[in-house]
Symmetry: C2
Subunit: 253 residues, 2 copies
């Protein structure tokens, strides 16, 4: 029975996609069967795994709006045990199209429920917004994993995100939990980063993972080769810490 | 007669807000009367100028949805010649609420037209998406300024953005031009950044500004004090390059 986890934060560029791709790969390398759902019209998770978006005949858009079965759209990646439900730019139109449909927040939940027996983890990469696509992801999930960049603006948005999670829990998904909070792009040379870490640890002591992701250029190079960091550069700091994060996620089960 | 410029890129965390706040301040310090419009529900531009969002009685949301006059909502900042039309979290609900209104893409244009005589520049900070709020900003603007982070994923999203600009030009705003492309968070020590710069310069030779914004920690510290970089640390590299960018924007007039 799969656990469904949404990786969300409306602040842009905080490491959502990097976490989905590399945590997903880390879990797959430990023998878990993992599906990554790319719910961002930018399709970074799709291309980060080397899938050519232009050659796709269908994507999450068709699953949500035309009710095509998800299993007909899922692609396998170059990593064993790691599949992807891809996104294309068509998804950009979904926010407005979803707005007029019945039960518009629950379409993704319906599409993914049937896949629970096929995987151990289903991880959803959310776009940088709190619109209908992210609401769908939060409604479909058992828990939400929150990447927080060690920067001021990223900290500022946290209370908005927590409020949205509270609203989803009250109206759409009463069992939605916080899977955890992962601090990303940490640069120990700056005071700001240290202050952000202290602040987040103080407010969310139980939720924050011990594993902190440092800034590591190999992590930003890997997507240009369409590979997770463990495949692109297994000896890098980036590969080591995302494998540690995968272990910590499993320990919390 | 003000020039209205949207600062847009659907990729998150590329430096849109940092560019709006610091370019705006650079122009104001050179005697231009500048209005910054915060069209992002995160409200980073509003707080980046030291305005307390919790104490605001009205914001861009009320201007778009309730048709309150923009001039009743505008706040002055701590910098002479620099005003802000603020955003609050209420704006997050606007995407869905706008979807059902007549001429939903033109509401911001109508709201800002009356302000053209009051300012030399009106600069709009867009959220990280290509939804109705960004479409409103592109429809209201004379031109669009595009920040591009020197990273792989940021480069990937450029063709999507250009396509969206083309669609807006065809359907909503025939005179929409490209104001320029500014490369941000450049770290000369990494090959990836150098490759991205070369690639962007090759495809957009005329549009790319000579000024490249390097990664500079003072830029990420300034927002926590609610000040633009020129006020927070006038001698920093960040203050110098954003002043250079402001000069280059004026030279292109
Ligand atoms: N720890 C890290 N060290 C260095 N670079 C990183 C790290 N994590 C992510 N990056 C890079 O930073 C950029 C932003 O990361 P990413 O795209 O994963 O964030 P995101 O939250 O998914 O962005 P968006 O909000 O646009 O979806 C990317 O170019 C990525 O390669
Ligand atoms: N040149 C720079 N050097 C160092 N840090 C920077 C630089 N430019 C921006 N930053 C920091 O990087 C983060 C992202 O920048 P910013 O918030 O301006 O991007 P954005 O595109 O507006 O993000 P969003 O997509 O969420 O609106 C912020 O924490 C900001 O302080
Ligand atoms: Mg992403
Ligand atoms: Mg911003």
């Amino acid at each position: 029975m799969a656990k469904i986890v949404a990786v969300a934060n409306q602040k842009g560029g905080v490491g959502k996609t990097t976490t989905v791709v590399n945590l997903g790969c880390g879990l797959a390398l430990m023998g878990k069967k993992v599906l990554l759902v790319d719910a961002d019209p930018q399709g970074n998770c799709t291309s980060g795994l080397g899938i050519d978006r232009k050659r796709l005949k269908a994507s999450l858009y068709n699953v949500l709006i035309e009710e095509i079965p998800a299993k007909d759209v899922i692609q396998s990646s170059s990593v064993t045990n790691l599949d992807v439900l891809p996104a294309t730019i068509q998804l950009a139109g979904a926010e407005v199209e979803l707005a007029s449909l019945e039960e518009r927040e629950l379409l993704m939940k319906r599409a993914l429920e049937g896949l629970r027996n096929e995987y151990d983890y289903i991880i959803i990469d959310c776009p940088p917004s709190l619109g209908l696509i992210t609401l769908n992801a939060l409604s479909a999930s058992d828990s939400v994993l929150i990447p927080i960049q060690c920067e001021y603006y990223a900290l500022e948005g946290l209370s908005q995100l927590m409020h949205s999670i509270y609203l989803v829990r009250r109206r759409l998904n009463p069992s939605l939990k916080i899977e955890g909070i992962v601090l990303t792009m940490f640069d120990g040379r700056t005071n700001l980063a240290i202050q952000v870490v202290d602040e987040v640890k103080r407010h969310f002591r139980r939720e924050v993972y011990k594993t902190i992701i440092p800034r590591n250029v190999r992590l930003s190079e890997a997507p240009s080769f369409g590979k997770p960091i463990m495949i692109y550069d297994p000896k890098s700091k980036g590969a080591e810490v995302y494998q540690d994060l995968a272990k910590e996620v499993l320990e919390r089960e």
